[in-house]
């Protein structure tokens, strides 16, 4: 970047900012216009920056507290090196003393926990297939081949995909249950070609083949469906007392036992959601929240809802309570609220394959919260000033 380069950019920054604030002179407006016309990418940039829906999500994440925290962090680093340059020997001696006096304690008590926090990775306890007779088969994510045959149906695995293939039998088909106990998603292809994606701590119970008037499955946890539509044999998902009926569809269900409500989000097509006392037909981009037998519908951010399929956690103004619920499942840890910071809100995006410590650090840096990891318990504190 040469001096000329950056000077040119600074002029553009000034012009765009003042355009947004509405205080450009006629000459300046002409100057900005000619820059915009220079190259298509200039126009793109201009349109992006003058679009509030582009700016707002970014600016809402630029928290002054995060900058302040980072500055304090840096000052701490500065003060440490100051001690070293001024008093190298004393510092060395002091650190040895410090190590001898309290270091032992930390080594014995604190250190292993700290290391553990660094090392806690997303839970990986594989996937369990429970057959009709109650027999359980433990699946590992890396496996290829035939798992079992049930009547005319063959069950085969290809890494994180389990596929059911075969003709429907005349007899009542057996019910199988698939449970995902690992942090990465697992895919199931049902006998009718419907695809089911299971998130961590989620399971589905389904017949090995579909006979009769309808195709009915039961789910717990977070599950994404891509249903093979068949008008003569509707697809029904039961979640507790709630019934979700597919009308040609991709949809996401979030129904963990420890969450207060069942959330069904429609990505494509149409679904009908029926609770004991109410029912609603969803449009794409809408989410229905089923609670206490009633339903409420709201528009949601689909990227956020389906981020888990891409191995991400995306959130906007989400409470720490809700986020820690997700963290608890992904890392298989317990959360203890030492201070009530449940309603602190966060926005952002993190990869779900990161270590627990990285994720906690993210929240620490962005907000007024602190954590301590003891074994598999995460204690949550308010940050001490």
């Amino acid at each position: 970047m040469t001096g000329e380069d950056i000077t040119g950019q600074q002029r553009i920054i000034y012009l765009i900012t003042d355009y947004i604030a509405g205080r450009l002179t006629i000459e300046e407006t002409a100057e900005l216009d000619s820059w915009i016309a220079e190259e298509p990418k200039n126009r793109l940039l201009f349109e992006q920056l003058t679009d509030e829906t582009y700016r707002q999500p970014i600016l809402s994440q630029w928290k002054p507290e995060a900058a302040e925290n980072s500055l304090q962090n840096l000052k701490h680093k500065i003060s440490l090196q100051k001690t070293r340059t001024l008093w190298p020997r004393i510092a060395a001696a002091a650190s040895i003393l410090l190590f001898l006096s309290i270091g032992g304690y930390f080594l014995l008590h604190k250190k292993p926990q700290q290391q553990l926090a660094e090392q806690i990775a997303p839970v990986n306890k594989g996937v369990v297939l429970t057959l009709g007779g109650g027999q359980q088969i433990q699946l590992t994510q890396k496996h290829q081949g035939l798992i079992t045959a049930i009547g005319n149906t063959k069950v085969s695995q290809s890494d994180s995909l389990l596929t059911y293939n075969g003709k429907a039998a005349n007899a009542e088909p057996a019910m199988n249950t698939l449970t995902n106990n690992s942090g990465s998603k697992f895919t199931l292809a049902l006998a009718d070609g419907t695809q089911v994606f299971l998130d961590v701590a989620s399971s589905i119970t389904y017949p090995v083949s579909f006979t009769g008037k309808e195709r009915k499955v039961n789910v717990v946890g977070q599950v994404f469906f891509n249903v093979k539509h068949n008008a003569t044999q509707p697809f029904l998902v039961m979640v507790g007392k709630e019934k979700i009926e597919d009308i040609g569809t991709e949809f996401n269900i979030n129904a963990y036992a420890n969450e207060p409500a069942i959330k069904t989000t429609l990505v494509n097509g149409a679904v009908k959601v029926t609770e004991p006392t109410a029912s609603v037909i969803l449009k794409p981009g809408e989410q229905v929240i089923g609670k206490d037998g009633k339903v409420t519908v709201a528009a949601v951010n689909l990227e956020e809802v389906t981020a888990w399929l891409q191995g991400k956690l995306i959130f906007h103004r989400e409470t720490l309570e809700s986020l820690m619920g997700k963290v608890a499942r992904i890392y298989n840890v317990n959360v203890v609220w030492v201070d009530d910071v449940r309603n602190e809100k966060f926005g952002g995006s993190v990869s779900r394959s990161k270590k627990l410590a990285t994720v906690l650090n993210y929240f620490r840096k962005a907000g007024n919260v602190d954590f301590q990891v003891d074994g598999n318990t995460v204690k949550v504190f308010k940050k001490k000033k």
Partner: protein, 192 residues
């Protein structure tokens, strides 16, 4: 020509060994530089790179001839630090490149990223330079999209007080931005 808003670092030259100047520069550039760096490297690494860069600047007791000079230097240095960082990572034969949440858009170059970061930063600085309560109300109301009742609840204030702060904040913003012409007021109204 106003290259860095008057509300940021009004004096030239910029002497970073002055703690107050250093703090101000850090707070004003932390987010835009992180945003810019995240176009090249992982967001977590970006934060570390920014901290280390400022640590070096502090140790060198660097003086810049103007705020514009500081601005140019910072973006230049961050970009170099990111490129060095990526190179050293490659040399370490890292098999698993961390997933960067801000992959650079193809065809958009770093100068475009710089413009992006600094236009956003201008808005951020103007809002956050208000007195703290005011700034918090303006931020929650206009940047984070909370309504008056939610802000009142969160800050333990009455709704009327929130409204008062909003009014005062907008007036202050108007004064903050140079005299004759329009102000960010318009821009804030856009957000509503």
């Amino acid at each position: 020509m106003r290259t860095v808003g008057p509300q940021i670092i009004p004096i030239a030259p910029v002497i970073l060994s002055d703690v107050a100047v250093f703090d101000l520069a850090y707070k004003n550039y932390y987010h835009p530089l992180c945003f810019y760096a995240a176009k090249f490297v992982d967001a977590d690494d970006a934060e570390d790179l920014i901290e280390n860069l400022f640590l070096k600047l502090w140790n060198k007791k660097q003086v810049f001839e103007s705020p514009a000079h500081l601005q140019a230097f910072l973006y230049h240095a961050v970009r170099n630090a990111c490129l060095d960082f990526k190179k050293s990572k490659k040399n370490n034969l890292q098999l698993h490149e961390p997933v960067s949440e801000n992959q650079p858009l193809p065809g958009v170059d770093h100068l475009q990223h710089l413009i992006q970061a600094e236009v956003l930063a201008e808005i951020y600085r103007a809002v956050n330079d208000l007195p703290s309560q005011c700034s918090k109300v303006i931020r929650m109301g206009y940047l984070e999209g909370f309504n008056n009742a939610e802000i009142a609840d969160e800050m333990g204030l009455s709704e009327q007080t929130v409204k008062n702060y909003k009014g005062r904040g907008l007036t202050l913003l108007k004064d903050k931005l140079s005299g004759s012409a329009f102000t960010l007021l318009l821009l804030l109204v856009h957000w509503k």
